[in-house]
Symmetry: none
Subunit: 173 residues, 4 copies
DNA sequence: CATGAATGAGTATTCATTCAT
DNA sequence: CATGAATGAATACTCATTCAT
């Protein structure tokens, strides 16, 4: 059986992800987790502390995915891996990603710097592949990834496979 | 001189856009607009009513841009116009777009269907230009647009011009 | 009929005076005053703001008494007036004085500087009356006043008259 | 090395004395004492129980001082001893006395009856010394002591020695 | 004896909304 | 049309206290 701390983290992730951080009261989190409200503060100090804990537990997994791909040897493999990333978000991870993206629009709420390494890695890939303007290409691909994530998380189109194929072809993969 | 109703709309747009809908109290909006709090409710019934009014006034301008571009005759001109769109968001419109995007991540807060026509139009363009999978191409371009908007509104990269050029070249424009 | 703001001030004075500032919740004040809790904050910003308002309304009356006495011409009249002061606290003013004295023991809660002028005045009186050590005499009389106030407010002895007489005789009045 | 129970008592005295009883949480006491919060309740049942224990340990010392002085044979020695009392409060005892006095203003918090014997003793002294109204004299001296304690604990005047001398002269000591 | 997780009632304060003027 | 006093429900957070270990 899960510890109460984990129950709180789970409930918080789901609620923050679906209704947003501001719109989710600690009271709701406590009820969803089946614990007293006070316990949240004993474990996480503040609501923002809870948010940070929720994010931290997700960031780990995300960074792992990144780094695994970035450490591949052939640049083309890296590129493919990165592009495939948004398409491989599992259902049970949706809450986490929704939360992450919604936070990006809320200034100051949460600082995300996981993309710094990703940027570096992509830049190198485009250089290795002799693209003319690697920096611009990096920004474009990062944007595509963010946009694709948005599309998949919010609109969930049926033709994801077809989309991925077309996308890969654009990068000659 | 602006009517008090307009003052409220302006202040609400700015505040909602910078601090978010939830984090902006009607009290703050009233003070920023220099009116009494009660007046907000006389004019807009509820806080959500104010949000809807704010969005409506923005949607109008947005749709106008869309439609102007979509009504161009040459498919390539349409394509170029659409792609250029995120790059041409004016500073004073940032609040509106930030608000729009942040709302997209908050289920139920606001329903955006402005993209339906855009989707249709793009689909036709890609068909006319003989792209193999127009539906997938449409989804990709919409995603690129969302992603580019995110990039520009949140990270504001310096090499916007270069990015746009590379992007246009990808579509042979 | 009294305004709600005044009702709040009255209830706060009574409750703060009898149970102390910390032990009195804004909820209790609101209920005692027959108003909503929110109104307290609309009028006084914070609980401490309420305390300040409560004290300010009392300080005025207190300083008036002081100054009236200090402005008497004959030093002996001043001395008698000051000594009689603690004995003339009216029942309906007990809450205020209890609150004032209890606050003196709570560092930082409320800054009382009303005694500065009183000190000056007494010093002059003792000089005029050729007492050997006016400064020490002043400190002693101030202490006697504080002590008498304590005695009267907390123990309320039956022989107040007799006490006053003995006290006056000590100062040859 | 001190027992944990004593550590709790010490920390409680200091904190209660400096910040007040209400403003001091059992959590703070536990942390200051370096023990678990639960232990406080094992030893003292409740927060008020802790308060009583803190006071009791102080009352003992205080009563000892009283009784020592009251048992002196010459009435004048008793009088001098009592008057000197407030001037001989040691720095490390300040917390205790501040707490005691602040509690006197909080109805019901703590019942102080230590002064009963003191009253009796003083009454006898004034009778022995043929003062005209011993009861009134007793009340006055008790008030002076309370007032002096207040002065010393809160304002800490520099001319304490001079004050004491003048005071003793008033009682022909 | 001692801990620390857990609770439930309570805290000051905020907020959207109403309404008499 | 416009105000501002007033409300009641909600909010994040605190606290004294309990209890299993």
């Amino acid at each position: 059986m899960k510890t109460k701390k984990e129950q709180i983290l789970n409930s918080a992730l789901t609620l923050f992800g679906t209704h947003g951080f501001d719109a989710t009261s600690t009271n709701k989190v406590a009820k969803a987790a089946g614990v007293s409200e006070g316990l949240i503060f004993r474990h996480f100090q503040s609501k923002k502390g809870l948010l940070n804990a929720v994010m931290a537990s997700g960031v780990e997994r995300a960074e792992q995915s990144y780094n695994e791909i970035l450490s591949l040897k052939k640049p083309k493999d890296v590129l493919r891996g990165i592009i495939e990333l948004p398409f491989s978000i599992e259902k049970k991870e949706h809450s986490y990603w929704k939360l992450l993206y919604s936070l990006k629009w809320q200034a100051g709420e949460y600082e995300d710097n996981s993309s710094a390494q990703l940027k570096k890695g992509l830049n190198k890939v485009f250089k290795d592949l002799k693209y003319k303007d690697p920096k611009a290409e990096t920004e474009i691909l990062l944007s595509i990834m963010d946009g694709m994530a948005m599309t998949i998380l919010l609109r969930n189109p049926r033709n994801k496979k077809a989309i991925l194929e077309v996308l890969l072809k654009k990068y000659k993969l």
